[in-house]
Amino acid sequence: METRIPFLEVSDAIVMSGAETLYWCMQCGLCTGSCPWRLVPGEASEQFNVRLVQRMGQLGIEGFESENCLFACTTCRTCVDRCPRGVDIIGNIQGMRSMLAEVGTIPGSLKPIVGSLHSQGNPWSGPREKRTEWTEGLSIPTFSEDTEYFLFVCCTSCYDIRSRNIAKSVVKALRTAGISFGIIGAEESCCGESIRKVGDEALFQKLAESNISLYNGKGVKKIIVTSPHCLYTFKNEYPDLGGKWEVYHYTEVLADAIKSGKIKPSGDAAGRVALHDPCYLGRHNDIYDQPRELIESLPGAELCELSRNRKNSLCCGGGGGRVWMETKAGERFAELRISEALDAGANILATACPYCITMLEDSCNVMGKSDQLKVMDLSELLAEKL
């Protein structure tokens, strides 16, 4: 075996790029053992060992840079919650990716995403002016000083045809509840959460700055978001950059509205509903109860818990930029989730994140299970009963 020569300057650079807890790691391997990549076969599963990746980082040894290694991490946070040393593993992964991004060596599949974010302010190559196309016919108010909430719709639900239904359903529910809200429109940019995880720190800073000055300029105080990823970055990352608002995921606002009797779902029985806890709603933001309350409020709904739920929820595979990368069928976490939902006897698999919807629905179709199991956003499920 060839002798490797550690470059401690490289590890210094990684730490400088944000992997601040890189040396806290004592290499126990609990992270690798907890990582969902252990549950599936394939290249990423074979190549990506997060313990080893961090070891290479500690020693400044190369060999971790590929799409199926360093870029495999979905930032699902399972490992972070279990690490006995309190290592910010995601921060370390992000730091290592940043170090690569600075020298322009991110995976090729991410390049168009970066380009689109730079030019259009969204990752989906949609023209900036079409950001509000989904609102056509809905006469959604524009946010002003008199509006209570600014509704920030995730880029995915602005551009993706399937996902637009989530935005529309959220709007319907908020309206029924009599909540005062408005959107800003084409000037809004992507929240930048996922591109930061991919390592493009400069791009994230640019997006965040543009959003912060826009929202502050419009007098935003409270925000409702449709995606847990936006929730995460608005709540946890923007404050340091000057964006200090009250931020809520729509499930929080709607669960409140149900409790206070502002909305009363009615209609046909919803049936057996399984809930997929999105990583960014659950582990990253600690919201577990409100989605369950929404399901329980539905007429004739029976909540059936998946075997991995709440803190132990299994990632859909879409975080950390993976939503933009290709994972082969047969190697996807979402497939395990579909099987779990079927095992739980559900006829609906509900969740509350546009990435999760994309990943889960895709797998459900690929597995040919769409006649047995319907993948739905909680907002859609609720909107049907209003």
């Binding site: 075996m1 060839e2 002798t3 490797r4 020569i5 550690p6 401690l8 590890s11 730490v15 807890t21 040396y23 806290w24 790691c25 004592m26 290499q27 313990r51 080893l52 070891r55 290479m56 500690q58 020693l59 040894i61 040393r85």
Partner: protein
Amino acid sequence: MDQNIGVYLCSGCGIGEAIDFDALSGVAEESGVAKIYAHACMCGAEGSKVIRDDISSGAVNCVVLGACSGRVKSEIFAFDPMQTIIERVNLREHVAWCQPAGHEDTQAMAEDYVRMGIVRVQKSTLPTPYLEALDKTVLVVGGGSAGMQAALDAAKAGYSVKLVEKEPELGGHMAKWHKCLPLHPPYHEIEDIELSLTIQEIESYPNIEIFKNSTIEKISGAPGMFDVALNNGGATHRVGSIVLAAGWKPYDATKLGNLGFQKIPDVVTNVQIEEMAKAGSLTCPSDGKVPSVVGFIQCAGSRDPDHLPYCSAVCCRVSLKQAMYFKEQNEETKVIVFYKDMRTPEQAEEFYKQVQKAGVIFVKTDTSKISVNEGSELKISVETIDELLGEPIQMEVDMLVLATGMQPTVLDDPILNLEYRQGPALPALKYGFPDSHFVCFPYETRRTGIYTAGCVRQPMTCTRSKNDGTGAALKAIQCVELTSQGKAVHPRAGDLSYPNLFIQRCTQCKRCTEECPFGMYNEDIKGTPLPHPTRCRRCAICMGSCPERIISFNNYSVDMIGSMIKSISVPDEYEEKPRIIGLICENDAFPAVDMVGLNKLQYPPWVRFIPLRCLGSINLVWIADALSKGVDGIVLFGCKFGDDYQCHFIQGSELADTRMSKIKETLDRLVLESDRIRLEQISIDDYYRIPQILEEFTARLEELGPNPYKGF
């Protein structure tokens, strides 16, 4: 003394239901005792008053108490040992609670125990304690962390202390170190070493006399009467007990040429690092420059069969501390620690995390296989397999620190220079540390009245060395107190007996002088044993060893146990009721048999247990006596032996095992099968195995058939 034996029988705790008391009294009567008395609660006010009244009226001076185990209610049944002999016959745990009530075999068992109890008393005399060893001064040898604490604690408890230190100043190794490991929560920062206050306190303490620049020339005598001569002349000092705290020395790094020591100038030891840090700067010896990258090699010569096979316990923590020295000197210095396992017990885990957070790099590898050479960019190149990477790596450093381990100072210097027949040093274990029952009685050594503390006993931190000093000082105090009253120390604390030698019949075979684990006997010029009673722990191993059977105690003798065996009634072969004698260690096996009773487990009714002070006191004549009387089998229950032996003395059961290997001769002479004797290692929590062992043994004896000597 004329014996007036009173037999007191308790029918409480279910004993009365299990045993026919009239018949039992009849057995006592046959022995011609002065009084027989039964009560339903002997331990109650009424019952125990009867005994006390009988003693004070002079009607009774020997008490045979047939009741519960002698291990319980000892305060209630305590009488002046100088006036009264007492024997506790265990009718409760050893009969009523482990045998079916009212059965004839249960009755026979109880009767045998009463017979044996009476014989034991008949074969005892009152003690004549040894009252000549009266000195209560504590000698502490070594003024490091452990020794200073021992001296201070003994002095504060009111004892005169003599503290002997080889060096011109007190403090030991800690006085040479730059800083110490974190001592206070949150255990993140290394701390200054505060010794001056302690040293000042000791030096001005009224009852501590300090001898600096001094070593021990010679120690003669025994506990309570040691005479200590120092190397710098002067009169001898009389002391009562001794704490040995002479510390440790670093493993000889010149043996670590494989790690570059003395081959590459910038390879140094952890001790050198302390010296450099204390002197003010950590620089490469070769050029005086501050190193940019520093490596540490853990277990340098430790946990390595070619060097020290054991772990020195502190060097991992010490390297963490020294890594911080480098980081404190210059934050930019890179530190790489090559380790087998980082051993960071207790709060040191917190410190370890902190050092990781400071950016120190840890490389898990087999450090004994590291290759160290001259470097090309920096001074030293280190090549090894990073087990976490799973690949070989090569790193260069300016300076390499070998984390060497500790060896006891007694390794090649007896230090105490004892005038003992068995030699001037404390008997040692494998790696030179003094022998002790290290799990339960860590400070004990194989020389009564001499206790070890600190790193001379086992590698440890200075905090633990101080705790050790306290523990050993308390032991030393117990020793002078008990010794001055003529009493034995642990484990037979309070025993007033000591070995009596019928010296006219001694053949100078030297078995006792050699086998006594505590070196009690010196020898005169002719080779006759010269007893030093206060060195004795009363194990009676010498009694078992003496072929002439001239060693006995007022309360324990070859004749006593032999007579007890003979007092058992052995049914003839047609009755098909075998008899088994159980000779059992009183420290572990006896309580284990009590536990059998407490748990109401049953075992075959054929066995009669006789407690021995130590299985090592076994004398082959007892076996011969029992077998020629027609006893079918003999079980010996001793403690666990081997490296982690559990003997309360020193490896007595192992000695018994060796002696038993010689029993074949006796058996051959009697034409008996060797299976009739069986030795089992029983620890106290093994009680549940006892019924099974006895049942298997009984089954085997049945196969062998009855002992042909029955009825002779």
